[in-house]
Amino acid sequence: MDMQVAKKKLGLKEKYQVMTRDLNWTPTYQKMEDIYPYVHYEGIKIHDWDRWEDPFRLTMDAYWKYQAEKEKKLYAIIDAYAQNNGHLNVTDARYINTVKLFLTGVSPLEYMAHRGFAHVGRAFPGPGPRVACLMQSLDEMRHFQTQVHAISNYNKYYNGFHDFRQWHDRVWYLSVPKSFFDDAITAGPFEFMVAIGFSFEYVLTNLLFVPFVSGAAYNGDMGTMAYGFSAQSDEARHMTLGLEVIKFILEQDPDNLPIVQRWIDKWTWRGYRVLTLVAMMMDYMLPKRTMSWKEAWEIYFEENGGALFRDLSRYGIRMPKCAETIRFEKDHLSHQAWCTFYNYTAATAFHTWIPTEDEMQWLSAKYPDSFDKYYRPRWEFWREQAAKGNRFYNTTLPMLCQTCQIPMLFTEPGDPTKICYRETDYKGMKYHFCSDHCKEIFEHEPEKYVQAWLPVHQIYQGNCFPEGTDPSAEGFDPLKAVLQWYNVVHGRDNLDFDGSEDQRNFAAWRAQATRNV
C-alpha cells in the first residue's frame, strides 16, 4: 500500500542551503548597486558570496524552539531571584557596583549591536552572511532585554541604576563604550563585522563576559549569572560568525589583507581600551576575586589569542600591533583606572572605595612588579588623608583622548611614573591622545574623530547643564549643574561606598534576613 515515491534525502548542508541561500535571487528590475549601496566603498573585494561557509546551520523553527526554552528557564531564575530577595545573598554590597557598571556601560551596547547587525545584514548581498547577521541582531535584542529585566530588580533597591539609558549618552566615562560602538556602527559593513563580530565578539569577549559572569558566580549573584550563562550559548554562534567573516574576506582577494589587518589593529586596541573598566572591576570591585586582570589577559589574549593569530597567519594576518603596549600596561591598567575613579567619584554613578588591607595583599601578590612599588603608596596616602578628614577629590576636569575618550591617565610604555601624551594637528586644531595607537587611529580618519562628543569639552562649552542654567551667576557650581543634567543624585549615586545609602540599606536588610531583629 505504500504509494510514497522515494524522495531525495537532502544532507544537512544541502537542506540548510535550500532553506537559506537558495531563497536568494539576482535582481533584474533594479541594479545591484542601488539595492546594496554600501558594499564597495571600503575597498573590500568580494568575488563570490557563495563561497561563504555557514558557520552554524540554524533554521528559524529550531531557533524559536531553543531560544524559547532558554528564555523560559532564564526568566524562572530571574523571578525566583527577585522573589527571594536574592540580592541580599551577594558577598558584600560593594559587589553591586559591578552590576551598575555593566548595565550603564555594556547593556546599551547590546542594543546598538541589535541595530548594527540589522544594518549590516541588510547591507550584504550574500544571503549566507545576511541570515547569520540578522539572527545575531535578534539575539542582541535578547541580551539587551534580559539584562534590563534581570537588573531591574537591583534598580528597585539600590542607587546607581535608575537612569542608565540617559547616563550612557551623557556621563563622561560612559562615552568610552558609547563612542566605541558609535565608531563601529558608523564604519562600513565589513569594518563593523571585523570590529564587532571578530575583534570584540571573538577576540575580546572572554575578557568582557567571562569576568562579569564568573564574578557574579563568585559573589553570589544568581541573577547576573543566569543571563550571562544563558547568553553564552548565543555568543558561541556569534563567535563562529566573527571568525568566518575574517576567513571569508581574506580568502576572497589578497587586496583585502592590508585593510583587514589595519581594522584588526584598530579594533583590538579600541576594544582593549573599553576593557579598562573591566580590568578595574576585576582587580578592585569584586569583593570575592576570580582572577586578576593580568591573569585574564595572559590566558585569554596572550595564550588563546596568540593561538588564534598563529592560525590566521596562513592568511598573512599577524598579531595586532598593540599587543606589545598592552603587555606592558597589564601591570598598571586596573590600578591607574581605579585611582582615577577614586579621584572623580563625585561625578560617577557608582561608588568607589580604598582597597582593604587584605585586598592590597592580594594585589601585591598578583602584581609583584608594580603594586607595592607604584600603587600601594598612593592608596596608603589617600587612606591616611581620608582618616584625617581630607578625602581627596579631584575637581579639575581631565584632558581626554580624542579617540578612546578616556582621561589621560595611562603612562608611557616603559615608564609608569610619566603620563603618556601624544598630539597631532589637523586643520589648524590640536588633538590629544593617550597613546600612539589612538593617535594613529585618528590620523587615518581625522574627519571622523574630530566629530567626537568629548564630555569634558562639552562641559566647558556649557552644553552639559540643565536648560536655563546661568553659568555666570554668582556661586555657580559647575559640578552640581552637570550632575543635575546627568540626573546623578549627589550623595546617593556617587561618592564613597562607605557611608552610602546602599551600604546602610544592605546592612539593615541583610540583618533582617539573617537575624531575628
Binding site: 510514497q4 533594479q30 523553527d61 524552539k65 528564555e71 541595530r115 540589522a118 541588510r122 528597585k156 558608523t186
Partner: protein, 331 residues
C-alpha cells in the same frame, strides 16, 4: 502546604527606571514589554556620522517623511519583547511540526488530487522568494526606522518572514521535491505570471524611507497576499477541492498574518492619527503601491483559480479597504 519563600519584606526605593517613569509620568511597576522597549534607542549625542550615509546621524528622524512627537507611540499590541516573541513562535512551531507530521505520516500528500497538488506547488513555491524579500525589507525597517518600538517589532517580522520562506521550502520539498524548488525559482525569475510581483518586490528594495517600506511591504503587499493566497485560495478553494492537507501545512502563515496585522495596523494608525500631514504621506504611499500590488497578484492568483481570480481579488480588496478605513486611510 505553602511555604513562604520570602523571608524579608523590604520596601523598594523605586519601581522602575527613570526614563520609563518620565515617559509614563509616574514611577510605577511596568510590564516586561514596556520596561524592555520604552526609550531604548539613543536619541542624541552621537559621536560620529555614518560613513555610509554622512548626511545623517546614526538614528535620524530625517530618514522618513513621517513626523512623530513620540516615536514610542508605535507600540506593538502583541507586547512582544524577545521572550514573549520566541515563546509565541515556539508554540506555533509545535503546531506546525505536528501538522507536517500528520500530513506526512497519514500519506496525505499522496492522497491529494493531482491538480490541487500541482496548483499548490505552482502557487506556493515561488512565494518563498517573496518571503525572503520581506525578510530583507524588514531588516531595513529595523536598521533605519527611528525609535526602538518600531525597530524591535521589525526584526521579529523579518525573522518571521525567513521562517515562512523556510516553511514554504519544506512544503515545496514535501509536495514536489527539490525539482519543485528549482522550477519555482525559474518561474519567479522568468515566468511572465510572476514578473509584476517580482518587480514590485525589487522596486521595494530601493525604497529608502523605512516607514514607506513598512507600508509597502507589511501593509499593502502582505495585506493583500495573505488573505488572497492563504485565507482564500488555500483554506477555501484548495480545501474544497480535496486539498485540506495543504491548509494544514500553511496554518502558520494564516495565524501569523492575523496576528501580525494587529501590529501593522496599530503602528500605522498611530502614525496617521498623529497629523494630517502624516495621513497624507501614508495615503500617497498606499495610492502609489496598492494598484501595483493588485495588478501583480492577479496573474498569480490565476495560477490556482484561473478565471475566478478577479472576483476573489475584488473580495480581498473589499476586506482590505475596510481595514484601511479602520486605520484612517482609504483604498
Amino acid at each position: 502546604m505553602q511555604i513562604d519563600l520570602r523571608t524579608v519584606t523590604i520596601k523598594p526605593l523605586r519601581q522602575t527606571f527613570d526614563h520609563i517613569a518620565r515617559y509614563l509620568g509616574a514611577d510605577k511597576p511596568v510590564s516586561r514589554y514596556l520596561e524592555g522597549s520604552i526609550g531604548i534607542q539613543p536619541k542624541d549625542i552621537f559621536h560620529y556620522r555614518p560613513t555610509w550615509e554622512p548626511e545623517r546621524e546614526i538614528f535620524d528622524e530625517g530618514r522618513t517623511k513621517i513626523r512623530m512627537k513620540d516615536w514610542d507611540a508605535l507600540k506593538d499590541p502583541r507586547q512582544f519583547y524577545y521572550g514573549a516573541y520566541t515563546s509565541a513562535r515556539a508554540r506555533q512551531q509545535d503546531t506546525a511540526e505536528a501538522n507536517f507530521d500528520f500530513v506526512e505520516s497519514r500519506g496525505l500528500v499522496e492522497a491529494l488530487p493531482d491538480e490541487v497538488r500541482q496548483a499548490a506547488v505552482a502557487l506556493l513555491v515561488p512565494l518563498r522568494h517573496l518571503a525572503w524579500g520581506a525578510n530583507m525589507n524588514n531588516a531595513a525597517v529595523c536598521a533605519y526606522a527611528y525609535g526602538g518600538m518600531a525597530a524591535q517589532a521589525a526584526i521579529y517580522q523579518s525573522m518571521d518572514q525567513l521562517g515562512i520562506a523556510q516553511y514554504l521550502t519544506r512544503i515545496g520539498l514535501l509536495l514536489g521535491d527539490v525539482e519543485a524548488l528549482s522550477a519555482g525559482k525559474q518561474a519567479w525569475m522568468n515566468d511572465p505570471v510572476w514578473q509584476p510581483l517580482r518587480r514590485y518586490v525589487e522596486d521595494s528594495f530601493v525604497v529608502k524611507d523605512p516607514f514607506e517600506l513598512h507600508t509597502v511591504q507589511n501593509l499593502v503587499l502582505d495585506g493583500l497576499l495573505y488573505p488572497l493566497v492563504y485565507d482564500t485560495i488555500v483554506d477555501q478553494i484548495f480545501a474544497a477541492r480535496g486539498g485540506a492537507a495543504i491548509a494544514m501545512l500553511t496554518q502558520f502563515m494564516t495565524q501569523w498574518s492575523a496576528e501580525t496585522r494587529k501590529w501593522v495596523d496599530a503602528t500605522l494608525k498611530a502614525i496617521v492619527t498623529e497629523s494630517a500631514e502624516n495621513r497624507g504621506i501614508v495615503q500617497a504611499w498606499v495610492d502609489a503601491w496598492l494598484p501595483r500590488a493588485k495588478e501583480a497578484l492577479l496573474p498569480v492568483a490565476a495560477i490556482a483559480v484561473s478565471e475566478q481570480a478577479p472576483a476573489l481579488l475584488d473580495e480581498v480588496m473589499e476586506g482590505f479597504a475596510q481595514r484601511l478605513a479602520k486605520i484612517g486611510l482609504s483604498a
